[in-house]
């Protein structure tokens, strides 16, 4: 066994990217933290340069998806584990935040009760145990991080220990998210049934629909995305990341070299799930609703296609893929709603057949 200490070779933060990479990242940060806020909040709505709330929300939403894509790329692109259950972790984070937002409504709901509306509607007298203390923001944040993390840790530990891998792992993660979806769809489990949580009013006391709050959420999401990118970059360039790549390319060999591959896989799977949970928590206040359809197996497979389109095994590719596919989705579902599934299906087929390394791979080949 290799001593643990040797693994933790910390890469210097500045070495993560070359000058060009940092420059691109800097420009992106500038756009997200300065230009978009100015164009949205200060430039008047009549000006052609004004960025409307619709675009801010859409961009914020896509950035959440990009975080999820990064998280999946870590496990799929770098460790070779295709999880078809990442939508579950995303939704769990969303539900954690969603309940906090429900509690923030206070007594201004339809029924003027301390309990969320759907519970009054179902004639519940008190909050179910799992929502204890969710009126505290810190507790909600803790839930957002711990619930997906714990689930992924336990599930991953048992799966990887029994050497469930490849397609088997994909299928059981799919079964997991399917089971969870059925559970959340039920009215009596305390998750709001098929309506989920919606009708949010405030976050941390601020009005959730005001332009300033929206912009703040947008900025926080952008910050989280950049931090996730740097974290992921740090991981894949560290020794830990090298071992992950070794596991992806030849797991038996990595084992014979003395690495306990289970630990590595569980670690990266858990981290990935936590990142998804955070993305979900950022997604819910911007979109204003969370319901069990986020857990449908179809959604989780779509996450895989974001990564595949951008180019798996490349962090920038994951972000690019999430942007491209969701951009196309926003365009198609408005302009040509009947053709969106054709387009999405074609993307799946074309990318896997002709672009094994995604858009980024095609760009780099030239």
């Amino acid at each position: 066994m290799t001593p643990k200490a040797k693994l933790v070779t910390v890469t210097n933060l500045t070495n993560l990217y070359g000058p060009r990479g940092w420059a691109i990242l800097g420009v992106c940060a500038l756009v997200a933290f300065l230009i978009v806020p100015i164009l949205n909040l200060i430039v008047p709505a009549s000006s052609p340069f004004h960025v409307s709330a619709f675009w801010v929300t859409l961009a914020g939403k896509i950035m959440c998806y990009a975080i999820v894509a990064l998280a999946l790329d870590l496990v799929w692109g770098y460790a070779g584990i295709l999880s078809l259950g990442h939508g579950l972790f995303f939704a769990l984070g969303g539900y954690g935040m969603g309940m906090y937002l429900m509690r923030q409504i206070g007594r201004q709901g339809q029924y003027q009760s301390d309990l969320p509306d759907f519970m009054v509607f179902l004639d519940w007298k008190e909050l179910p145990w799992q929502w204890w203390n969710t009126d505290q923001f810190w507790w909600a944040v803790l839930l957002v991080i711990l619930v997906p993390g714990l689930l992924a840790f336990v599930f991953g530990y048992f799966a990887f220990r029994s050497r469930v891998k490849g397609v088997y792992f994909s299928i059981i993660t799919q079964a997991l998210t399917f089971a969870a979806m059925l559970l959340f769809f039920r009215n009596n489990t305390g998750f709001g049934g098929n309506n989920g949580f919606t009708d949010f009013k405030r976050i941390l006391g601020f009005n959730i629909t005001s332009p300033e709050t929206r912009m703040a959420l947008f900025a926080v999401t952008a910050l989280t995305l950049i931090a996730t990118l740097l974290l992921a970059r740090w991981i894949v360039t560290s020794k830990f990341g090298r071992v992950l790549a070794a596991i992806r390319d030849a797991e038996p060999r990595a084992m014979f070299c003395g690495y306990n591959t289970v630990h590595y896989k569980v670690a990266v799977f858990t981290l990935s799930a936590v990142l998804c949970g955070i993305a979900g928590a950022l997604y819910v206040p911007q979109v204003g609703i969370i319901n069990p359809s986020e857990m449908s197996p179809a959604n989780s497979i779509e996450i895989a296609i974001w990564v595949a389109v951008g180019g798996r095994g490349s962090l920038a590719g994951a972000i690019l893929g999430a942007g491209l596919v969701n951009g196309a989705k926003s365009f198609f579902t408005v302009a040509l709603p009947e053709y969106w599934l054709f387009a999405l299906g074609a993307i799946f087929i074309v990318v896997t057949l002709f672009m094994p390394r995604g858009v980024l791979g095609v760009l780099q080949r030239k």
Binding site: V164, V167, Y168, L176, F178, R186, L341, L344, F348, I349
Partner: protein, 512 residues
């Protein structure tokens, strides 16, 4: 109204009963109603009807039915002069109830089966005065269902009011009948002061409870077999494409859906023909061929290039499934389409009082067995089957001895897809047919194949049956959704314990 009473012999009304009805007190009147009913005379029914509507009046000792300014003498049935001094015969609520029951009972003589049946049902809690009428109706009744019902009601009445012997006889009669409602009747008597009756009732109760429990268990077992056969049909095709060929075909559910839509289209062709009941005979092969062709096209165009890369296959076939769903939606619309059961498949066999086996489920069980047998024959007795097995076991060696492996792949995939089409044809008979039909089965069918063990058919069969039973068993005490969740969680744990499935092929590879 006369039609109801044709089967009763017509004779004069019993004057004593009519007088009791007109002049007696409440209890007398009830008794009189019973007596009139027992006569079974259509005129008695008319009289009761008039009574209920407040048309029965008395003048001195004369009894008249008064309608407007005309009066009819009740006993003679002839028109009479309208006297100036008249009194109404007042009906209170209790009497009205008794009359309503009695009028219902008269319908037992109707020629219309449904009318008799509803009349018999309405009698379930009538009072004992109806007993003679029921007895009379029993003698004539030929329909077994109505006869059984009446028998039971008569026994129930005797149980309440009869002599000891007739009560004991009634208890035995109740025991022999399979109707679940008899339980409540017997429960009342089970604490009777008379010891003989009590013992007899308790004995009968135990027998009935045992029989009901048996029926429930048999019903559960049949539901398990039925679900198992549906899972088996859905998974059999996958057992070839995934189990034998190793292709993760996420579009498998859509091939099922195409089979169901093919059935729908074939049904349309037969719509106005006299052979409509037999459209399934044409639809099943059509579903096989259409789904098989779509599958072969899919293999040629997409899957062929991805052999040996299961995760990429998964994504590409998922994409194909989206295209197929949208294509069907564009052609047939997003709404469910209507696929009808042929006449011989609707209804069911009544095995026990609380156990009905629907015909469509029975047909599907046998259909699944037939498909299974056909597939087994094909794989074990034909040249194509030999090739498929050869390519599965050792592709390179099969290639060397001249097996056209690429073509065998296409045919094998077509076969698996065709069987998915057959599954769709069967599913169209028990569920909704819509563009998303396949999505509901894809997770299930993969779990069946993985649970059974990849690479052979026997495991798939056992896995389908086990999952079908487990699902229904859990459903009976935790509800459908929780049962489904429990089964999914069970399989997740199972795969972690035994990643090779129930029946693993023995081998030495470290990489499964």
């Amino acid at each position: 109204m006369a039609a109801f009473f044709l089967s009763f012999p017509a004779h004069a009304l019993d004057p004593a009963a009519v007088e009791k009805l007109a002049f007696g007190d409440g209890d007398d009147k009830i008794e009189a109603i019973g007596a009139l009913v027992a006569e079974g005379d259509p005129r008695a029914a008319e009289l009761l009807q008039s009574f209920a509507e407040g048309e029965l009046q008395t003048s001195g000792r004369q009894m008249l039915v008064v309608r407007g300014d005309k009066a009819i003498d009740v006993l003679s049935g002839k028109p009479a002069a309208l006297p100036a001094e008249r009194e109404d015969v007042v009906a209170n609520n209790r009497l009205r109830g008794a009359v309503a029951g009695a009028l219902g009972a008269f319908k037992l003589g109707s020629r219309d089966r449904n009318e008799r049946l509803s009349a018999a049902r309405a009698l379930a809690d009538a009072n004992a005065a109806m007993l003679p009428l029921i007895r009379k109706a029993l003698e004539k009744e030929t329909d077994p269902e109505i006869h059984g019902l009446l028998d039971l009601i008569a026994a129930g009445m005797e149980l309440k009011d009869g002599s000891k012997e007739s009560r004991l006889a009634a208890i035995r009669k109740l025991e022999a009948s399979g109707n679940p409602n008899t339980k409540t009747l017997l429960l009342e008597v089970a604490s009777d002061p008379d010891e003989d009756i009590r013992r007899e009732a308790q004995h009968s109760l135990r027998a009935i409870e045992g029989r009901l429990a048996l029926g429930e268990w048999l019903g559960l077992a049949f539901a398990g077999v039925s679900l198992g056969s549906i899972l088996l049909l859905a998974a059999l095709g996958l057992a070839i494409t995934y189990g034998l060929m190793g292709v993760i075909n996420m579009a498998h559910g859509e091939l099922i859906m195409i089979g169901a839509y093919t059935t729908y289209v074939v049904q349309g062709f037969f719509r106005n023909s006299p052979f409509f009941d037999w459209y399934l005979v044409a639809a099943a092969p059509a579903a096989f061929v259409v789904s098989g062709l779509v599958g072969m096209a899919l293999e040629r165009s997409v899957i062929r290039w991805l052999y040996g890369r299961p995760l990429e296959t998964l994504l590409a076939t998922w994409g194909s499934s989206l295209v197929l769903i949208q294509a069907v939606r564009t052609i047939f619309g997003a709404q469910n389409v209507q696929v009808e059961n042929p006449a011989f498949m609707s209804g069911g066999i009544q095995v026990m009082s609380n156990l009905v086996l629907p015909w469509n489920r029975i047909v599907i069980v046998f259909f699944a067995l037939g498909v299974l047998a056909g597939m087994w024959l094909l794989l074990s007795r034909t040249r194509l089957g030999l090739y498929i097995r050869g390519v599965t076991q050792n592709r390179a060696m099969a290639d060397c001895v001249g097996v056209p492996t690429a073509r065998v792949d296409t045919w094998a995939f077509g076969l698996g897809s065709g069987i998915a089409g057959l599954a769709g044809c069967a599913l169209s008979q028990v569920g909704n047919v819509g563009p998303e039909l396949g999505q509901g089965y894809i997770v299930d069918s993969f779990l069946v194949v993985v649970f059974g063990g990849v690479g052979q058919l026997a495991g798939t069969v056992y896995a389908a049956l086990v999952l079908g039973f487990a699902n229904k068993l859990l459903e009976s005490w935790s509800g459908a959704v929780l049962a489904k969740i429990a089964v999914l969680v069970f399989i997740i744990f199972f795969i972690q314990r035994r990643p090779q499935g129930l029946f693993a092929l023995k081998g030495r590879a470290i990489e499964a």
